[in-house]
Structures are given as C-alpha cells and as structure tokens.
Amino acid sequence: MAIQLEFLKSILYFSGLGPAELEAIGRLVFEKTADRAEIVLLEGELAENLYFVASGVVKVFKTSAEGKEQILSIVRPGESFNDVAIFDGGPNPASARAMGPVILCGMKRNDMEAILRDHPQLALNVIKVLARRVRHLVSLVEDLSFKHVISRVARILLEHIGGEMSRGPRLTQQEMAAMAGTAREVVGRSLKALEEEGAIKLDRHRIVITDKEALRRTMELSS
C-alpha cells in the first residue's frame, strides 16, 4: 500500500488530493503485471479498466488490415492509457503492448466515475490529461495526413549517403524526425515502408540504399 500511495501521488489524475483521499483511492486500484510483448489491451474489445503505468513502458498502437503498425504513444511510468474508452463508454480505440516487463495499476470504469463524483475538482486534472492527449494526436494526424513524410525521409537518406572515401553522418530516427518536421513514430513507419518498396534495406545499424532511383522517385512525390 505504501508504494501504491507514493505512486498515486505522482499521477496527474490525482494531483491535489490529501493522504486520506489517496488512501481511499488506493483501495480501488488493482495491480496487473505483464511480460515483454504481452498484449495488455486489444483494440475493439470492451473497455473495462483505466491503467496507469507503475514501472516499465507500454506501447499504444493501431494495426492496419495488412498488419502495419502505427504507434500512437509510448506510455511511461506515471502516465495513463485507455482513458478515452473509459470516459466515452466505447470499445478500446487502440491496442497496448508491454515493451518489457511492466507493472500497471488498474482502475475499473465504475470506480473512476465514482471518484470523479466524490472529488469533482479532479475533473480539471482529467481534462488536462485528455487535452494533452488530443494535442498529441492532432499533431500525429497532421503528420500522417498532410505531410509527405516518406518523401522527406527519402530526401534525407539521399542527402546523407556515406561514400567509400568519407563516411556520411550517422543519423538517429529522432534526428531524421527533427529534419523532416515530424514525429519519430512516423519516421519509423516511413523507413519500414521504404524497405517494403525495395528502396532500402535496414541492416542493423545500417540503412542500405538498394534502389537509388526508387528512392529518388519517392522523394519527388512531395509537393
């Protein structure tokens, strides 16, 4: 219980509550553990619980019919996931997978509603959490719908090829994202798409350009 109270104190949802109130909330929280790669939530299933990550990291993602994955967020300790489904009563909007061993604190939908009724001041905290989530997703929607990110990634790769005489600069996905004006998650997906097109091959720490012309054509798609 002591660890749980310390943890609850660190969660934005419960910010501003005193020890007695946190203790009462702590009694409604249950612990759930998951191993690496274990699915914690499945998209489309009935949402029953809200989760807070106590330790480890969880990846929230959508999967297309072809099996392509788009990461929506990476949830670190103190952060929550499945908030939307808990509050709108719909199914889980995305799946969640443990990226390593994780410990989660779960709360049933009905219990969360009761807490908000008993502590209406917490509604502002919840609004802040949801507003941040909406801001992040709006930015991701912009990247995925309006920007030809794949073209920009193709350009970045072509502009940073190392030669036999001189090694080119080594770039992280984070750096490519900053150059392309997008999120790291979108760069990861672009690299996978370029690999599927046969333009590049990801070979551990190397991006091998296997079809320079195909990469150039993709680059020219940008308007």
Binding site: L171, R204, R206, I207, V208
Partner: protein, 68 residues
C-alpha cells in the same frame, strides 16, 4: 566489436526504462547510469532510444549505397 547504441551518461538519470525494454539484455544500470553489456550483440531495434525520456541513448544509422 559489434556496433552498440551510443550512451550519453551525462544525460542518463538511471530510470532503467531502456534496460526493461531491451529484449537482448544488452543494457544494464551500473552506478545509476545505463551501461552496455559488451558480450551481447545489439540488433538495433531502437526501442531503448524510443523509450528514453532524456535522450541519453541513441541508435544512429549509417546510410550507405549497396555495393554493386
């Protein structure tokens, strides 16, 4: 020696999230800072870079042309 992620120990706060997500156990926290386990070969999944909240660990790619 195989290529391994690059660690900026001055930025590492020892949270250990990278250690938890590394599926090859190639990372460890020593003296509150992430360290490479040199006996393990990294497969460059880049999950450690993705989860690091301080940007202390990175997996840079070299971009090369395929040899013809």
């Amino acid at each position: 020696m195989a290529e391994m992620p690059v660690i900026r120990s001055d930025k590492c706060d020892g949270c250990g999230l990278c250690v938890g997500v590394c599926h090859l156990d190639a990372l460890a926290i020593v003296n509150n800072v992430v360290t490479i386990v040199e006996t393990v070969e990294c497969d460059w999944c880049t999950d450690c870079e993705a989860v690091c909240p301080t940007g202390a660990i990175s997996c840079p790619f070299e971009i090369i042309m395929q040899e013809s």
